[in-house]
Symmetry: C2
Subunit: 234 residues, 2 copies
């Protein structure tokens, strides 16, 4: 861990981070309770199920998946997490992480010691923290709705659509989505089989809606996807 400099000025999540509205003085003090990690590589664990949960984490770059294991040994993937997103709060339930978090790519995180939350508030990061928390909860609800769609194309379109807005929020190009997870993992997360996911993506590729490669998806016709996904009011 390199705590000497959180590199906030260069951080890709600067616009959405809890530290967004802090002045230089507060940023300086911020490093006392929020430190940037050394780079993690594909497959590295940020934390493992059962680890004591003294921290939560802000994804700074790269991507992570969070997953739980069945007694049978296969995993359920509960989420994919991109820059600016908060993970690890579930560990506060009983003091240990119920899930594992695995890097899908070269990634960095900022680590927040939970006992330091009052300090973050003093520094003026309270509203930012609450906003982040609200986003997390809201995203969970959207994901729930998406999984309630029984049709596979609706679920997949809904996921891609959500991903687009998550990237647009970061200021990234929402039509070029990095897909660092395997097809198997994505299908697992969406409650579908690998074959079903593959077929739908293939169909959309032939129709010119998307252009999927191993680790990216190019969105060619965003409106097609949006009409296929679930529609919330307003």
């Amino acid at each position: 861990m390199n705590a000497t400099d959180a590199h906030c000025a260069l951080c890709p999540t600067r616009g959405v981070c809890v530290a967004r509205d802090l002045d230089a003085g507060a940023l300086e003090r911020l490093h006392a309770c929020l430190t940037t990690s050394a780079p993690l590589h594909r497959g590295d664990h940020l934390y493992r199920s059962g680890d004591p949960a003294e921290y939560c984490f802000l994804v700074r770059s790269g991507a992570f998946k969070t997953s739980r294991l069945t007694s049978g040994g296969d995993e359920y993937i509960t989420g994919f997490h991109y820059p600016g997103e908060l993970i690890g709060l579930d560990g506060q339930n009983d003091g240990a992480f119920p899930e594992s978090a695995t890097a899908l790519d070269n990634s960095t995180v900022c680590r927040i010691r939970l006992l330091d939350l009052p300090v973050l508030w003093e520094l003026g990061a309270g509203p930012g923290l609450l906003r982040l928390l609200g986003e997390t909860m809201s995203r969970h609800a959207e994901t729930h709705i998406n999984l309630c769609q029984s049709r596979a194309p609706a679920r997949i379109a809904g996921y891609l659509t959500q991903l687009m807005s998550r990237f647009a929020r970061l200021g990234f190009d929402p039509t070029q989505l990095p897909m660092p997870m395997s097809r198997t993992d994505l299908a697992n997360h969406l409650g579908l089989t690998l074959e079903c996911l593959s077929r739908v993506l293939g169909k959309w590729k032939r129709a010119g809606v998307i252009e999927p490669t191993r680790d990216h998806v190019l969105i060619r016709k965003p409106t097609e996807l949006r009409t296929t996904a679930y529609h919330l009011a307003a």
Copy 2:
């Protein structure tokens, strides 16, 4: 709203509340930022989609559903919420509630002004708040896994199993589950059709696994349900 007495001593959620570990003096000061609501009745809205979100809420008694509307006018039910559970945090995303919360029964809540969170911390409620937050996140993940089950019996069993542990945690009898929501709402929440839910419940009733009535479900063979649901390790 009756702010003069939060009735913590008589609260059914006392064992799991953020105020669990507070002494009498702190409880007294607690009422400055945590007030108990007047009773809500079946169908009353605790908040509506679009309302400004100045507070979040702890369910004290009764039950609530949270839901969003589609542009087509039908609703997606994102959660059912029982005593001791936290709702309304998603409103911190952009300052307004994205969902509506509706009472399913005669219910009361405790209202937390979000600007008062630092005060709650001072009073010693910080660990309790974090625990509650962790539970909420963890429950979301479990719900996700449950929805990833493609088989309807697995989803229903998983939901009932989760409800059992939520009630056991409160010290209530986990084999007598109140079901204040309509079958339609439950099916909606589980991503199933009403007919499918009805068939599975009927089958289990004939098999003596459960004894469902309009507003309760008696669990006769908990192990049957648990083996039908998804299995997490450890």
